[in-house]
Symmetry: C2
Subunit: 220 residues, 2 copies
């Protein structure tokens, strides 16, 4: 499927740090692939509430899910506007001045009205997308959702149309006057997420083999 280009509106047009705005859809796709968590913002009783949650995405739609009882999800379901931020920290920028200290990161902020996924087939497909994003290989490997489990789960869909992508890469942007021969050290300390050794469930028989789809992820 061809993905539409991002269409920034007034509020998704980046005013601060325009040089960091990345309009290319490919940057958004790469960020969505790399991140596991997003932060979902809704307005509850006039006040903002921000909650971390897992997500999945397919083509032009981002999916989140949760218990049917959760207030945040119920609010978003009621047709309210939501904001979803996806962020990856890539490094700390050590500058020659306190002022120019910064972080290298990739971030996307998506705005829109979330849609409750009610069609059973789309709901199953959305749960597959979320599961495969969070735990690739698990959808086919494990027991699928029962009717009761499906009923206890709400799925929200948000179009990836109104999105502001910001990326900072590279060295510090110091003032010229601070860049002297004998200046203090400046540079970037990269940070990245790494997977550890799988920890088997204590209820497994001893020596149960870690399946390929988990092992594969762990490899560098």
């Amino acid at each position: 499927m061809t993905r539409p280009p991002l269409s920034p509106t007034e509020r998704s047009t980046i005013r601060r740090g325009k040089e960091r705005a990345a309009s290319e859809r490919a940057e958004l796709d790469a960020l969505l692939d790399a991140a596991v968590l997003c932060h979902l913002g809704v307005v509850v009783n006039g006040a903002p509430v921000v909650l971390p949650t897992c997500f999945g995405w397919s083509d032009n739609t981002l999916y989140v899910h949760g218990s049917t009882g959760a207030t945040t999800l119920r609010t978003a379901i009621a047709g309210a506007e939501v904001s979803v931020a996806i962020t990856l920290l890539d490094g700390i920028v050590y500058a020659r001045s306190v002022f120019h200290h910064s972080a290298n990161y990739r971030s996307a902020v998506v705005h829109g009205r979330a849609r409750l996924v009610e069609d059973r087939d789309e709901k199953l497909r959305a749960l597959e997308v979320i599961t495969e994003h969070v735990a690739p290989g698990s959808w086919d490997y494990t027991r699928g959702p029962s009717a009761k489990e499906l009923a206890a789960t709400s799925v929200l869909a948000l179009e990836l149309t109104e999105a502001a992508v910001k990326i900072r890469r590279g060295p510090p942007g110091d003032d010229e006057a601070d860049v002297t021969e004998d200046s203090c050290w400046a540079g970037v300390l990269p940070v990245r997420q790494v997977w550890g050794e799988p920890e088997p469930c204590p209820l497994l028989p001893d020596g149960a083999e870690v399946p390929a789809h988990v092992r594969r992820r762990q490899a560098p």
Copy 2:
């Protein structure tokens, strides 16, 4: 300074996953120490906006800063309610069923009205707190903020009083019926953030030594 205990209000009382609620202030402190980024939520024109930003904290106050021109910060400064989420992903929970897949994480969601820091001494102290949180050792090592830089920076303070802390640790919580002798593999794939090799600014002389406060952080 003795820190007051967390005082959950109606909206900071955790309804979903009560077993994950951690009321102890020590858990919040440890999370704040370990995270670099937070997600700040405000309401702009009736809609939520969630933005990633660095933060710092001291005693019972969380500080964020930004350009005086940023809409989000201007909104928060106007006395509006804000929500700040601090989240660390610790692992992916592979269960025997799709439904019980989960993530191990530590999260705090703080609610309240942010206060614009106007006192010059408190503003400098807040910037020191943020700088030392993001880049420990940098405040004394690098050039401090000029009057112009100070004027271009807004600092917001948020009391750490109304906070909901949620933590999930440990193995999957599978249904008893799924835990059989010949069940599929289940367990946790841990994830953690690691620092990479410092990347010197290209404008430094060749062979410039990485200072101890940066080296120290990189060490495991």
